[in-house]
């Protein structure tokens, strides 16, 4: 049964997420020193000095004096009930800081994924069917350049063009008047107006590689005997290509969601920093640099979970789409 398969795959996520939580915890523990060291150094810059007693006091309050595994288990057990701990830096519960930004990150990644597919699918099909045509060469060239240009560089160039030629600052996800406004239709519309730039920036390299994947898959399929069979049936060239080889080539295409989503989530971090988007990236970077461990840990954990969910989705989609994949 398909439901049993899905359940099984979801159960498989448990050890994965457990592993992810260990990695996340180790990562935020990796820097020498802890938040207090950074905090003291910061105070030191403004010539304030904490005495030993209050340092110890703070350390105990944050639980930083306990051995690593104790800290880890405390962290994880609180995670299970949805408590991500406190951000040292912001003096706020991590969940208050994280959810809104994660929501926007997810929104941005999904929008980009849709954009990527919407663009890559027709171009990939065209490129394969009209192999070595001018359009194919054009798509291939753009694809290669898209792959070779780092996201942040593309973002910078687009920003440069925006500033120099249009005199407009194209960064951010909201106009100033909506930045702190409550959600409304007007704010959603404003978001839409800003979203295209990060979507294009973020989606370019994924689109480029998806075009190449679609093209290669379809080229393989176009020579298969079942295409000949369909032709010998009297189907028109357009329909036979759409119904058979494209349908078969769609399967590996769909399964790319498994790595496209992690890539987008990853890429979104850098892009967000350059375009100063209120998504997870900039805050996570800040948290990492300040060794604000619970905040950073929550981000690393949630971003990793997103990618695991992406893989789950792609596996389920593949089973639904391809009757050859067995799921029991």
């Amino acid at each position: 049964m398909i439901w049993r398969y899905i359940l099984k795959r979801i159960l498989w996520m448990v050890p994965f997420l457990f592993g992810v939580s260990i990695v996340a915890f180790l990562l935020i523990q990796a820097p020498p020193g802890d938040y207090l060291t950074t905090y003291i150094a910061k105070l030191g810059e403004s010539n304030e000095v904490l005495d030993q007693a209050s340092i110890e006091n703070l350390r105990a309050r944050f639980g930083l004096d306990q051995p690593l595994y104790v800290q880890y288990f405390k962290w994880v057990s609180r995670l299970l009930v949805g408590d991500f701990g406190m951000s040292f830096e912001w003096r706020q519960p991590v969940s208050d800081l994280v959810w809104g930004r994660m929501g926007l990150t997810l929104c941005l990644s999904m929008a980009t994924l849709l954009f990527t597919w919407a663009v890559a699918f027709p171009i990939g099909v065209y490129s394969a069917v009209r192999k070595y045509s001018i359009g194919d060469y054009l798509a291939t060239t753009i694809g290669f350049i898209g792959l070779a240009t780092p996201n942040f560089l593309l973002a910078l160039i687009l920003m440069y063009i925006g500033v120099v030629h249009f005199g407009a600052d194209v960064g951010g996800l909201f106009s100033n008047e909506y930045k702190n406004a409550p959600w409304s239709w007007a704010k959603v519309w404003d978001l839409m107006k800003h979203l295209w730039l990060p979507v294009v920036v973020l989606g370019t390299s994924a689109t480029a590689s998806l075009i190449r994947i679609m093209r290669a898959n379809l080229l393989d399929e176009l020579n298969k005997p079942y295409v000949d069979t369909a032709r010998a049936k009297g189907l028109s060239e357009f329909w036979l290509i759409m119904k058979y080889p494209v349908r078969v080539a769609l399967n590996p295409f769909v399964s790319t969601i498994g790595w496209v989503l992690p890539n987008l989530v990853s890429g979104a971090v850098v892009t967000a920093i350059v375009l100063s988007l209120p998504t997870a990236g900039p805050l996570m970077l800040q948290a990492l640099l300040a060794q604000d461990m619970y905040l950073a840990g929550a981000f690393v954990l949630m971003l990793s979970s997103l990618t695991v969910i992406g893989m789950l989705l792609s596996d389920i989609l593949l089973v639904l789409l391809d009757p050859r994949v067995k799921y029991d």
Binding site: K224, P225, Y226, D228, T229, A230, R231, A232, K233, G234, L235, S236, E237, K243, Y244, R247, V248, N251, L321, D322, P323, R324
Partner: protein, 570 residues
């Protein structure tokens, strides 16, 4: 003109004429012709076989009729005239290859089936979906009606539970069933002509016999013309009314089947038939083992089960009993054939004896048990027991020269080195009929037959006692087969070799082997003297197998009773 006259004229004229057809492939180095002025005719209610070896242009001809020559090929001259039972004469080669007119003919008036039942059906659409599509393309009917027609077609091609089969996928079917479904699809619009491009080549011989029977039956029912492409003269003799022989893009001979088999005009046809005829009896040069020859090998209760393991804990989820209690013995100088269809376990038996796998049971080679032999022991036996593989393209490492390949067993066993090694390789090459000057070449410079000779040279390099030959000729064209077999026979006589000869082809076994063991689903069902078994098979499976082998003699057509073996519990 009176209508009756037109009708009689139409039915007396061939339904399809190919006239002086030229097809070329446009390559970077210019036009490269694959068909040179091909002409022949198809007639209503008759089966025309197009025969030739690989590269003769048979398949291209079939596609040219439907005006679907794959790029970069193109029709350069000549024409194909099609005279459907309803409507007027059409020149298919003059139509727009993507236009409506030719698409009405494809599938509607001329149906086509292909060689590979594995890949000729879409893997992600149900059988029903694909047949219903074909029906609705050419017949004016609702989805429900089309489904009913599809169901009837599946029934007509004898697919069990047709209603259920409609909703199944191709990969859930066996090869034979898939080919039946293909036929059902091609015939769903009652075409005037059916083009079958090697439809049985990829099938086992018993399945092939069933498909041929089916096609014969359908032809009578539907009164169509069949164009049957094949390389197998046996199939031609069984099925065809007319024969067109092709070689390298030329039609070299045409005629009715009976006369053509009796007397051939063109030397190529002679050679083709000669190669088949020679395989109909034991080789003249065959040296029988001495009556008092000692036993060289005794296999007792050999078993090998492949376990399918899954998941993290590697649980056994499925067991495939590839070899299930096989016993036989072999005398010095004797050739034992193992015959069976795909999946019967014959190749696995050969590989078990060579210890490619680790089986259970006993393989007693001159008093020592190979199954329990340790590494060092095995090393010395492997010098005496050698193997020849089916596919000479896969069994020769393309990255080594012929010299390195043949020298490898000599080098790793420390038999020869330096100039002595080179001399040995030269001698071996001469022995198998190749020139020693070729030893610096790589395998890619050799043809299939030559490569198989290299494989033979490697096998005999260590002067073995026993050779396990796994389908050594089935990857080769018919005319090359006997050459390789004759080489093996000569070596057997000269070196006193014993052979275990694995094949699916009864004719090859008959030519080469003293005794034969018939395998079915991992077991030997019958073993004995080759001629005895062929003349008087005892086991029902052997009877079914033998009655399925096409005989290259049209005179014998229909004289045999076909046996069907459904297996125990199947």
């Amino acid at each position: 003109m009176p209508q009756t006259l037109m009708a009689t004229e139409a039915s007396s004229r061939p339904i399809l004429s190919v006239e002086n057809l030229n097809v070329g492939f446009n390559t970077r180095k210019g036009m490269f012709d694959v068909l040179h002025g091909v002409s022949f005719e198809l007639n209503r209610g008759r089966t025309t076989a197009i025969v030739g070896e690989s590269g003769s242009g048979k398949s291209v001809t079939a596609r040219a009729i439907l005006n679907m020559v794959p790029r970069p090929g193109q029709i350069n001259g000549g024409r194909v005239l099609f005279r459907p039972s309803k409507g007027s004469e059409i020149e298919t080669t003059a139509l727009d290859p993507r236009g409506k007119a030719i698409r009405d003919i494809r599938g509607g008036k001329i149906g086509m089936i292909f060689q590979e039942p594995m890949s000729s059906l879409s893997p992600v659409h149900t059988i029903g979906n694909q047949i219903i599509e074909a029906v609705r393309l050419h017949r004016d009917c609702t989805k429900q009606e089309a489904r009913e027609i599809a169901r009837q077609m599946l029934e007509q091609v004898e697919i069990p539970k047709p209603e259920k089969a409609l909703d199944q996928y191709a990969f859930e079917f066996s090869g034979g069933m898939r080919q039946r479904a293909m036929i059902a699809m091609a015939l769903s619009c009652h075409p005037d002509v059916l083009i079958a491009d090697e439809p049985t080549t990829a099938l086992d011989v018993t399945t092939q016999a069933e498909i041929l029977d089916l096609m014969r039956k359908l032809q009578v029912e539907l009164n169509m013309a069949i164009m049957f492409i094949t390389h197998d003269m046996g199939v031609v003799a069984e099925l065809a009314d007319d024969v067109v022989v092709m070689e390298k893009g030329h039609v070299v001979e045409t005629g009715q089947t009976g006369p053509l088999f009796a007397e051939q005009q063109h030397p190529y046809t002679k050679r083709l038939l000669g190669a088949v005829k020679r395989l109909e009896e034991p080789a003249a040069a065959k040296v029988r083992p001495a009556a008092d020859a000692r036993e060289i090998l005794r296999v007792d209760d050999l078993r090998l089960h492949f376990e399918k393991r899954e998941g993290f804990f590697q649980r056994v989820t499925d067991v495939n009993k590839a070899v299930d209690g096989v016993s036989f013995s072999l005398k010095e100088g004797e050739a034992l054939g193992i015959v069976g269809e795909s999946g019967s376990g014959k190749t696995t038996v050969g590989r078990c004896i060579a210890r490619v796998y680790d089986p259970e049971g006993t393989v007693d080679y001159r008093g020592s048990n190979l199954v329990t032999a340790g590494k060092a022991e095995l090393q010395s036996y492997r010098q005496q027991i050698r193997m020849i593989f089916q596919d000479p393209f896969a069994s020769l490492n393309p990255r080594m020269t012929v010299k390195q390949l043949i020298a490898e067993p000599l080098v790793v066993n420390g038999v020869a080195s330096g100039s002595e090694l080179e001399d040995r390789v030269a001698t071996l090459l001469r022995e198998v009929g190749l020139q020693p000057e070729m030893m610096e070449r790589y395998p890619h410079a050799f043809s299939g037959g030559q490569r198989q000779r290299i494989v033979v040279a490697r096998a005999i390099a260590l002067e073995p006692k026993l050779v396990i030959a796994d389908e050594p000729t089935s990857a080769l064209d018919v005319s090359i087969r006997t050459q390789v077999l004759d080489l093996l026979l000569r070596l057997q006589a000269e070196m006193g070799l014993s052979f275990i000869f694995i094949s699916h082809d009864m004719a090859v076994i008959r030519y080469f082997c003293d005794r034969v063991a018939v395998m079915y689903r991992g077991k030997i069902v019958e073993i004995g003297e080759t001629e005895e078994i062929i003349q008087n098979p005892q086991h029902p499976y052997t009877q079914a197998l033998l009655s399925s082998v096409p005989i290259a003699d049209p005179a014998l057509r229909g004289t045999r009773q076909r046996h069907r073996y459904l297996g125990e519990g199947a």
